[in-house]
Amino acid sequence: MLSISPTYLLYYVPLLVAISLVYGGTRHEDMRLVLRHAAYTAYWITAFMGLIFVVLLIMGLFV
């Protein structure tokens, strides 16, 4: 199904953590709110990337 090694997906983890936390940090001052915002951002990014993945996967079935 994947044309690359699944271990390559590990590259995604540090990016996701750093981007989510920094973005959350630039929206709030309270660390609890920062973490909550970061979790929401991580969830949103992952869902979006997952959606793109599914779209490309479906396109790949027809090409």
Partner: protein, 197 residues
């Protein structure tokens, strides 16, 4: 003397003194989180420092420590560096290395002299010139040696630089969406937030 209240804002129920905002922004650029430490926002300063420098170091390492260099030479315009330098002082050695290699590269032929030796064991040094897509050169050797790590390392360091731009803004003006003057604090001090029904 500047009115201190102009640098004070309130966010999430906390008063923040942004102090000298341009200085804080400069410090934030030099060292991710540095501006926040200056403003005594230690928790956020630590968060930024750890996140951005970790991303930077991981990217730099998986790219074989060759992903950050500055070059505007023909065939090797390293535009990625414009984003990488957003991370501040950690990217500055590349400028020193570029200055050095330029001294050993003929402007007429574009070829680096055999006498050239990069500083610090080649840390952030540009590749020997000429560099071109048609021929094997030092850049293609880096790609061959590190594979996807070279690409990802470049992305990591670029994203670290971009994230630090957000951090610089946060140091200068506070969290996004919050006015940089103290108006919001004064207005909201007496009036609790209204929740629309």
């Amino acid at each position: 003397m500047a009115d201190r209240s102009e640098s004070v804002i309130e966010v999430d129920g906390r008063r923040i003194d942004l102090r000298n905002r341009p200085l804080a922004a400069l410090l934030a650029w030099l060292l991710p989180g540095g501006g926040h430490f200056y403003q005594r926002r230690h928790a956020k300063g630590t968060l930024y420092l750890v996140c951005i420098l970790t991303l930077w170091i991981v990217g730099f390492s998986i790219g074989g420590v060759h992903v950050v260099y500055a070059s505007r030479h023909a065939g090797d315009h390293r535009w990625h560096y414009y984003l990488q330098i957003g991370a501040g002082a950690v990217a500055l050695p590349a400028l020193v290395q570029t200055r050095r290699i330029n001294q050993y590269t003929s402007p007429r032929t574009g070829v680096t002299s055999d006498e050239y030796e990069p500083l610090w064991g080649g840390f952030m040094a540009p590749p020997h010139r000429p560099v071109s897509e048609e021929k094997t050169d030092q850049v293609s050797a880096w790609y061959a040696r590190h594979g996807a790590g070279y690409e990802m390392g470049t992305w990591y360091t670029m994203i670290a630089g971009l994230l630090n731009l957000l951090v610089i803004y946060d140091a200068y003006a506070g969290p996004l969406g919050i006015p940089i003057s103290g108006r919001k604090r004064k207005d909201e001090a007496d009036t609790p937030a209204q929740i629309p029904s």
